[in-house]
Symmetry: C2
Subunit: 339 residues, 2 copies
Amino acid sequence: MHESARPPVMADVAARAGVSLQTVSRVVNGHHAVRSDTRERVEAAIADLGYRVNTAARALVTRSSRTVGVVGVSTAEFGPTSALHGLEAAARAAGYATSVVLLPDVDRAAVRAAVDNLRDLGVDGLVVIAPDDAAVAALEALEASVPVVTLEAPLDAAVGGALPSASVDQERGARLAVRHLLDLGHETVHHLTGPSDWLEARSREAGWRAELEESGARVPEPVPGDWSASSGHRAAQQLVDDGATAVLTGNDQAAIGLLGALWQRGLAVPGDVSVVGFDDVPEAPYLVPPLTTVRQDFDALGRRCLDVLLARLRGEEPDVQRVEPSLVVRLSTGPPPRR
Amino acid sequence: MHESARPPVMADVAARAGVSLQTVSRVVNGHHAVRSDTRERVEAAIADLGYRVNTAARALVTRSSRTVGVVGVSTAEFGPTSALHGLEAAARAAGYATSVVLLPDVDRAAVRAAVDNLRDLGVDGLVVIAPDDAAVAALEALEASVPVVTLEAPLDAAVGGALPSASVDQERGARLAVRHLLDLGHETVHHLTGPSDWLEARSREAGWRAELEESGARVPEPVPGDWSASSGHRAAQQLVDDGATAVLTGNDQAAIGLLGALWQRGLAVPGDVSVVGFDDVPEAPYLVPPLTTVRQDFDALGRRCLDVLLARLRGEEPDVQRVEPSLVVRLSTGPPPRR
DNA sequence: GCAGCCAGTGTGAGCGCTCACACGGAACGG
DNA sequence: CCGTTCCGTGTGAGCGCTCACACTGGCTGC
């Protein structure tokens, strides 16, 4: 390692190895047409000098920054966070850097601004982990300028042209949960929804409704929630008033809130009310009582999502990737109370 | 907006506005020495053409990418995640992009590789949200090459040269919790620690110990944990065997695990055992029972951390930033059981 | 035996921008 | 009325790299 004011550039390496710039470039980029002793000489020079390629210069000429941009929601929720982790790991493995913009509010203007930020950075592709209507709407227009993939915006989204995406089969997850509860003997299953402008929330609700209808069970009015524990807490009263014996919540956070509220009212879970969450957060097995929930592999989802993006960057028309959810039965579900 | 194969460049704008390249550059960079009608003409041309500056070209010549790199741990935990959100928001507000590397394992080699990745990207500065010993050790050597700031690695860290940092006063937080429990009448307070190679965990333990000692209370053997709910769950038996009546856990996740385990054993909280967490995750008020915990403002922490980094980029020697924690008393703490 | 080929290397140009500097002209003092 | 200052603008060079192409020499093929 030499210490000098200016970091070494390719020309320094070329001079030291006694070759041309072009040859150094070939070595750096793993080009095959280089004799192996030449390659070794260049590699030695690179190591001696502590040379590192200048990404800005490379990006300028190749018009590619080998960076993917991620637009996400600024919540510390388990799902989006884990998906980001999976995505970043996959991107890094594929030689891409990851630039993020985390939005507190996912309105149309904010998404648009975030996308512009990222585009100015020269990202090769974009992933949006915020599949609510505003985000999707903001995305539709600019599809042409840079490849965009969404996480959790299924093909059947009611909005115009389908964006390529990776998603968990939410509908199936919800059906699994409803089936489980009906099989336990519950007459019907109540649903505490996620925010209705989220595609995921709508898919879960659709699955819940479909499974109930197909089983000939009454479909109770869904109770609106917003993913948060506090919304689960607030919803408890209405669910109790409705005489719910089984509740499918939009996610585990909401289930936690509901569990807390039921406990405060002296209601037993699952004795009086069975509760199923959605996500399987790491704490789920340790809640009081341990939570039955629909497990989603967010990490895999993030990886899949990157696969879709890379396929698009290669010019392919990738399929929508589906990740299968599964039901994890713990102690928060049981037979309905006897009348 | 004109559609064309090549996106417009500065020269196109210059031609359209009838000025030189340099003048366009001045307008784009908000330079003052431009007559206002010239500026308006240039701005109109920019808007017409849909021109956007090419960051790669700018970075090449300015040797600054206006990007900060963040190295974090790949856990969906509330603290690091929220800090990242705060950091990114602050960076964006300051006109910086944020590139992340999220590591599943924070060993020395991984941190080094992550830092190299980010450095190759040309980041102006680096934030490390993974203040365990391995990370700090990996950081020490390269301090010179790029400004580094750590989140949660306090000045008094036992390791060599202090890195600039922003951190919550963990010791004070732990003292607050211990004080609260002693005031309730507990003879002493047990501690379920975080991983011992984490600086935060050690600070919390130090605060816990100091407060006990200063109060003349017995200092029980701390029980080792790793931040996870499952470690809290596992620790329950030992704590019960030790006759603990009050436990301070390393974080809220561990508290959740402990709460679950106590419930399974039929022990009442706070009747038999009082529990205090650390972090104040959004679910804390809804746990069974609602959790008394030490609140940390991670979002503010992230913002502060970026302030420190920006100060360093301006060439200042910033102070270590401290964020004050506070105790949030809920229902998981009460007087000790009567004998 | 010479056209043809390919592996291995070098050459020149240029990606889009900012920097240091040069330059003309209005404003101002003496 | 001329030197000095400033404002507004333009000029040339060059950041570090990759691209398309040109070149060399040893090899195959008929």
